[in-house]
Symmetry: C2
Subunit: 767 residues, 2 copies
């Protein structure tokens, strides 16, 4: 796909012109989601060209049997995969008795896709030339209702330049496959296929996990906005059911089918109630017109944007990008269900199968904390709390004892899904990110109740893990952590990854502090937790010893910390001196060559200095940034954001802007030539952080936000606004600072350059 395929627009993503080679990429870009379900931008009508079909129901997965060349003890038996669910969007179309298929049309004109991010409406329209000068126009509008999580709505309109016979057949279809299947297993068993007048229903159950999902549809037929009273003919086969409408349409007239479809699942309803629930959803939706439902959707998105929008007036490329990222994050996760999380591809593809990575804690939580009710961030923490037992089991499988917890690298239900030893068993720093998220939530919200309610149990499990995983080196007379993979996955099985050791030390100390604090503020709660976790006071002294004697590699000559033992033994050729033809190195170099090179896939030392920035002075930060940035290839979508934030802090504003552009338009400009597999959802939160924590310099402490803007030159004179929860802050280029307090109701007060001001609504601050 060519870069800059999608023109710049502040609120819309647009594709113009028909190109079958771009279908799969645009199916990703124009994906829709409402937190509960998601849908790639597949065509409604049958399409015989190359397509990647994807319909997803949040939290419904299949445990695909692990595929591995060489088994290692400790590997999980399966990989929980996001599932392609039965199709609810399909509308078969016959014109004068011939099936319509864009792939076989004589010509396609005025082909256009548009995603309006302001209200979540996706539109596709085109004119197709068929035989004998017949031209038909299709206009399809679609959205997934935020207000009604089970419901998707389509208005599919047909007109032609001649009188035609139209057969239009909305349907549901369980005859689907998964691209990303290890063994071509059957994932679904069909329990019921039912069709009745204008409605159809398929109930299917995932094999092994036994999630029951009802895929439903209702339909209404209109000519020129007048509803037709035809009932249609219900039809069904073993896997498909729907309604056939036949209609003679005069030239220039428009026939529209409104399809109301979606999913109800046993995650939310009794299996026996699925069908009646679906019927209720249809019945209620039918009592509204398409425009009413769309108005409801527009309102729901307006509410989201009010507390999440970022305005960069005058930099349309940056503007479109950040809105696209914010839009996708909201499509992926609405925060209402503590059983759901944020998969790296959200609802836009199957890759990375399992739902939850450390991305959630390290990159996503700040976005949801800042833009949504704090309950949402709390739900993300609770997700891990609910999986603590599984994390303890996971650690036991690897030889740990006494309630030590190792959270999985990739998971759906709390069990580990991944099966590369160097990642699954060794990328254990993920544990620290989960502890850090608890700290981060607490400092952001000043909600001190989470730690006694849930957080401390998680922290104890994690600290027990670190205390057992660190081992004493007689040679160094310090504690070491051997055999790990740090955030930089271009190093495997290294000793003493600085980030891992430093964050483990922090975990041990932070947990001990929380225990000490609760012993004063909530001794009863603490007693309950200690009893529940069988915690012994001796553990505290072991943690203290381990933390105090933790080995942290550094180089005294360069005055930087060392990414890991032996890092300086490498050939220290900078990235800029690499042959550009060999980049990205992960597509050109064998794995061993990457491993022995100094190149950093993703911020590692700098990730640690970002998390714990109060621990390092600016000079230290600068020395380490200046040392590590030249070796960083940023071949992870999660890397540039951290460098952008640190660059901003170091007043390297234009370097920060370059990082920002790279991360924010990753999918829109398809830098990695793989957007057809789906979008990089979790890195989109990193993009948001680049702006908010980078350019705006937002920091939070005890619920109090402060801003220290460091805007790029490109934004000089532009209006730049960031929305949080229910409040908008606008920054203009310039030095200065302001801070504000946001309480739970969104009441705020602001201190601008040291002067307190009342603050409500849309005030613009001129610094």
């Amino acid at each position: 796909m060519k870069l800059e395929h999608y023109p710049h627009h502040p609120w819309k993503i647009i594709e113009e012109g028909w190109n079958p080679e771009n279908v799969k990429a645009s199916e990703s870009i124009f994906s829709l989601g409402n937190g509960a379900m998601g849908q790639r931008a597949n065509f409604e009508e049958n399409y015989s060209g190359s397509t990647f079909q994807g319909s997803y129901v949040g939290g419904v997965y299949y445990p695909d049997k692990t595929k591995v060349g060489w088994w290692k003890n400790g590997y999980p038996e399966y990989f929980a995969k996001v599932l392609n669910a039965p199709n609810w969007i399909g509308i078969d179309l016959k014109i004068n008795g011939e099936s319509f298929d864009l792939n076989t049309a004589k010509a396609v004109k005025d082909y256009r896709r548009e995603l309006n991010m302001e209200n979540g409406l996706y539109t596709r329209s085109f004119t197709a030339e068929l035989a004998n000068g017949l031209e038909i126009n299709i206009n399809s509008q679609r959205f997934l209702s935020l207000a009604r999580p089970a419901l998707g709505v389509i208005q599919y309109s047909i007109s032609a330049n001649q009188s035609i016979t139209v057969e239009v057949s909305p349907y549901v279809d369980a005859g689907i496959t998964n691209q990303d299947s290890n063994w071509d297993d059957q994932f679904w068993a069909i329990d019921a296929v039912e069709a009745q007048a204008a409605q159809a229903y398929i109930e299917a159950q995932t094999l092994k996990t036994a999630f029951s999902v009802g895929t439903f549809m209702g339909s209404r037929l209109f000519e020129e906005n007048e509803e037709l009273s035809v009932a249609g003919n219900p039809f069904k086969t073993s896997k498909k059911a729907g309604t056939i409408y036949q209609h003679v349409l005069a030239a220039g007239k428009t026939l529209s089918v409104v399809k109301l479809g979606g999913y109800v699942s046993s995650r939310k309803h009794e299996k026996a109630q699925l069908k009646s629930t679906a019927e209720g959803v249809i019945a209620e939706a039918k009592s509204y017109s398409f425009s009413d439902l769309l108005a409801e959707q527009t309102q729901a998105w307006a509410t989201i944007w009010k507390s999440a929008d970022i305005t960069i007036e005058g930099d349309i490329k940056a503007q479109q990008a950040i809105r696209f990222n914010i839009f996708q994050l909201n499509q992926t996760y609405s925060g209402e269900d503590a059983g759901l999380n944020i998969g790296p591809k959200g609802f836009t593809g199957e890759k990375y199968g399992g739902s939850t990575y450390w991305d959630t804690e390290a990159y996503c939580i700040p976005f949801y904390m800042a833009t949504k009710n704090q309950k949402v961030a709390r739900n993300l923490l609770t997700y891990r709390y609910l999986q603590l037992d599984r994390a303890i089991e996971n650690a036991e499988k690897l030889g740990f004892t006494n309630g030590a917890a190792l959270y999985p690298m990739v998971t759906m239900n709390g069990e580990e899904c991944h099966n590369e030893w160097e990642i699954t068993f060794e990328e254990i720093h993920r544990n620290s990110a989960i502890a850090f998220a608890i700290f981060n939530y607490t400092r952001y919200t000043n909600d001190l109740s989470y730690i006694p309610e849930m957080g401390l149990e998680v922290l104890i499990g994690i600290s027990r893990f670190w205390a057992q995983r660190a081992s004493f080196s007689a040679a160094k007379n310090q504690y070491v952590i051997l055999g790990v993979t740090g955030p930089n996955e271009y190093e495997n099985n290294v000793n003493n990854n600085w980030y891992t050791n430093y964050s483990a030390q922090w975990c041990l100390r932070y947990t001990a502090q929380q225990i000490e604090a609760l012993s004063i503020t909530a001794p009863d709660e603490l007693a309950r937790i200690e009893a529940k976790t069988k915690f012994k006071k001796e553990e505290l002294s072991r943690w203290k010893t381990t933390a105090d004697q933790m080995y942290l590699p550094e180089d005294s000559t360069l005055n930087v910390v060392l990414q890991q033992d032996g890092f300086l033994d490498k050939e220290m050729v900078k990235v800029e001196d690499l042959n550009p033809a060999e980049r990205p190195i992960n597509q050109h170099w064998s794995w061993d060559r990457i491993l022995r090179s100094p190149y950093i896939k993703q911020a590692d030392v700098l990730q640690g200095m970002y998390f714990f920035e109060d621990h390092f002075d600016l000079d230290t930060l600068r020395r380490n940034f200046d040392f590590y940035e030249p070796f960083t290839v940023h071949e992870s979508s999660l890397s540039p954001c951290v460098h952008a934030i640190i660059a901003s802090k170091l007043n390297k504003n234009d370097q920060a802007y370059a990082f920002y552009l790279r991360t924010s338009r990753l999918d829109l400009d398809d830098y990695n030539a793989e957007v057809e597999e789906g979008l990089h959802i979790t890195s989109m939160a990193g993009t948001w952080m680049s702006i908010v924590e980078g350019f705006a310099g937002m920091r939070v402490k005890e619920g109090q936000l402060s801003f220290q803007p460091n805007l790029p030159e490109a934004w000089e004179g532009l209006r730049f606004k960031i929305n949080f929860r229910d409040t908008i802050y606008a920054l203009h280029l310039g030095q200065g600072s302001f801070s504000c307090t946001v309480d739970k109701e969104g009441e705020s007060s602001v201190i601008v350059n040291g002067k307190k001001q009342p603050f409500t609504g849309s005030l613009e601050l001129k610094l």
Copy 2:
């Protein structure tokens, strides 16, 4: 399988008593091979119980598509697999119209298997009770002819206590499967199935590799040693062909079918000639009786034993074990075909698929050098020479240039087959073993012609690899080798594995020495090689610098070399302090736990000190042995032999004996509870080394052998003889030394305790 299932006997392996659970283990133990083909000890008659069918044709393989969870750049597309070939041993048996099957017999008595290692004859006999008091006796004798590499011979005899109708149907059958298939591919396409009087033939071709293999059989029928003139009825199906003989057999009489079968392949013959070649083999074999053919076989084995036997009179357990090992090594590889090699499981199973590992150079070559014509060892070296171009291609895939060669970890035809990055890309020390084998061959045979003819090109390719693979560490101001896996595979991706660095240094220097030597002794040859390899003199100085500045990790406090950087940061708990319930650790610990432990799977530092023993004084050897042995778990079958040899050299004779027993009876006593998958062929050569280089203390230099016996206490007073080529040396317990020279014709002279003696034949030396 219970240990010590097979009773001790100096020349035989015996199994007594019917136990279906032991069928698969005994199918491995009683395997037959003649270097060209091999056959697990599967039953001739149909068996419905659990069995692992295996018939193998040397050098015939299939490229099974790689199965891997997470692809890494540089992985090979396929894994060349040993193939289960069409079955030539099958004999269907019906008694009174009922198919005979040991698994469904009412009772089985006097079940016995016997493998006579003196002549390679395998016998199976039993009495089976059928309905109505009918008892039948089966005696089956089988061998694979050493004299006629295409031929296997079976004499299958039946008698009964009642008069019976016998239908006996020898057949060939291509309806076979492979256990170890990644994708359940079809491996064979059948080209022809033919049956005629007393003969049958199937021609099948391997898919992808297109090896054509003719599987053939001829048969003769005897009653009480009188040949019957019945022709039998030929039969065939789409995959199977044979001859049905029907016969009424009086009580107490014996009916025998002699089956002459085996394989002809397109590796040795034109495809168009395969069938006529097979017919020729059958016709010629039919001109001999079973006893004549057996006598020929006995003679061929006598010739082998004359130059390969080891006698340990009085230690029957050790005696049986060493003969079993020598027998299997000779079954696996006869040395006549430079296109064949020694697979870790030989012809006894499918595991490890590819044929050739560094086992050949590190463990097997000394055995074949000492016990066979030196052409055999030369053929093993030539095998690698013929694959040099592929090794250069392999290195290019990993980013190396200018003729650098990296031999594959596992190969069949010179291409890499393996797909674990930490092994395939990083266990690069295999290159050094291939160079070492050239040195070893030269010092053993004093054949100085191999290096200019072939060896130097290989050495140049290997040295180029090392010079490029070593990198300069500014921090250490030395050359380092980063990111490797040493012989101890319980460490992955380590820096500066001492064995790898030391052996690389040696390769660079050894190659330079050969070039310097040839510049004087054979300048024309050198010029030819330099032109062919585009060698430039500047390379020599780079090699010298790299070798001279090679970093070799060591610990000055302990005064030992270090297995790799950071080894002493581990928790140094000795093996003896491990919980025995957690051993072997590879069955109880997750991979990360193994990796960060100090436990050594297989000799690593000590492997290097074994290879280059002249470089280290006894004190150094002792310190390193005493340091590393307590951390060595010997979970590779290739480990104890090296420790045994070094223990002998250090006068730790009883420790050496313990290692010897562990390695020599690994399969017979099924220590690892997996003998049913096949035998550990390459480690059997290590067992031989334990005796010859360990207990007998044999060393070779410039073609001159010396012995410095260090016998275990258990052998006090026993007669202990070692056969080499055509000469026998006998040692009695005691101190002393002798050396001898063996020329190419086997003429020898011996120096005993400094005194030269003439020496021929079976002289026993009393030291």
